[in-house]
Amino acid sequence: MPREESISVLVEQALNGQRRALARLITRVENRAPDSVEALALLHPHTGRATLVGITGAPGTGKSTLVNALARTLRARTFTVAIVAIDPSSPFSGGAVLGDRIRMGDLAGDRGVFIRSMANRGSLGGLAAATHDVVRVLDAAGFDYVLIETVGAGQSEVDIARTAYTTVVVDAPGMGDDVQAIKAGILEIADVIVVNKADRPGVQNTVRALRAALDLGHRFRLTGHHGSLIQTPAAPPPDYDFWTVPILQTVATEYTGLDEVVAAIHQHGAHLRESGIWAERERQRIETELAERLRDALLVQWTAAHAPDALQTIVERIIKREVDPASAVRALIDGNKPEK
């Protein structure tokens, strides 16, 4: 079997439910192979039907176990489910050990489920775009739900969470004195909060701390003031924007509390649609993505039109304080060499 099948054949097979073709298509898109542009163009008309749910939270809170239980619960209601599980790449070797499947053994043998592990490849801002495209392929392939698991730490994870319509932030008691979601600074992006491992002592403390942090977030914003953060009253949310973030409890290892999680995801989806936020968010998401791709494309185009070391030369000049970055860019855009 040659590994290089034609891209249009792969797309056709994937749209017809062939899992091997789907898997190979994901690889092409993830690798940004030259023909992935064609694939995404062919797939685009078929996208926009799946419900995208982001699952994020500190390491070890039980995200993969929860994804497994959530997928099982959705399957019991005859929805098909795709899972994208993202783990960090090693900054030293560029390799990765992707271990989320360990917790998803229950889903094996179910053809209504497709699981794909992804390394973040430490790319400079490229992770969100790559994830977007992989999610698009799964959406086009007809899955009702796409669940995206990321470790909640850092901006790129927040960006990925924005790929999803509903973001579930997972926390757990007994992981030290701190509430992990607050510590990681990801509470702001939560549409639904799940306190997993509710069989462990300390659940009520975790719930209380999260509730307090949420209430604070509703009433106040943290504002920079002479180098320190102060609380200022937040503008009251406009009526249509009102969504109370529920704090739910689960024992993912025992499938306890999952019906409530599914219900909350549905309610949040309904809220987004009825309020018009859905359309607004989609427009925003596409606008951001377009701007990012355009920026990348322009840089590629510019670099291709100049000497291989053109950018490096300017970098050297900036280091020598001969020119500053802002002026250099203006000169580049004007088509001139940056002058002293």
């Binding site: 079997m1 590994r3 899992r19 091997r20 898997a23 190979r24 994901i26 690889t27 690798n31 940004r32 192979a33 030259p34 992935s36 542009v37 995404l40 790449s89 090693s90 030293f92 070797s93 560029g94 390799g95 990765a96 050990v97 992707l98 271990g99 499947r101 360990i102 053994g105 094996a108 043998g109 497709f114 699981i115 794909r116 592990s117 390394a119 490849r121 790319s123 400079l124 490229g126 775009a129 495209d133 791709r293 990348d296 494309a297 840089l299 590629v300 185009q301 670099t303 291709a304 291989p308 070391d309 950018l311 490096q312």
Partner: protein
């Protein structure tokens, strides 16, 4: 040829800045699995980390994987390599089944490696089934990395 940011530019490879940032990126993907019932996976984890340190992306699925689970994971993850660790002595039952399932899924071009406790006299039979390499306990992990790199280079 160089793919520019998935936007359809094919550029000559002599642009170092682009090479670094936007070259279409391929990684060797490896599934490391432990079929059968034996209960510890220290060896499998050592291999997984060694392959990661060699720049590969390793999907680790944990203990007690059935042949069906292994074939399915290999398909979904579109791996180039499967590394099986078997200490239980059940390799002559498990491996033929795994090879059969891979064949049925048209995954014949996936490189299959076996590690663990495998008696020498079984090795020819395993190779006949399509196993690419057999590595005993205490194999230098670099030998496994080298085997994968050279076998994949020859496949292309």
């Amino acid at each position: 040829m160089l793919a520019g940011a998935g936007i359809g530019y094919n550029l000559d490879a002599n642009y170092p800045y682009l090479m670094e940032r936007w070259m279409s990126e391929q990684k060797i993907r490896v599934l490391v699995a432990k079929p059968g019932l034996d209960g510890h996976d220290r060896g499998a984890k050592v291999i997984a980390r060694a392959l990661r340190d060699a720049g590969m992306e390793v999907i680790y699925t944990g203990l007690r994987q059935t042949p069906e689970m292994i074939a399915e994971a290999a398909l979904q993850e579109d791996v180039d390599v499967i590394g099986l660790s078997i200490l239980s002595g059940a390799h002559m039952a498990l491996i033929p089944r795994i090879m059969e399932l891979l064949h049925a899924e048209q995954l014949n071009d996936v490189l299959v490696l076996v590690g663990g406790i495998i008696p020498d006299e079984d090795i020819p039979a395993l190779k006949n089934m399509g196993v690419s390499g057999v590595f005993g306990p205490g194999t230098n992990t670099q030998a496994i990395v080298d085997h994968i790199t050279s076998a994949l280079t020859h496949r292309q």
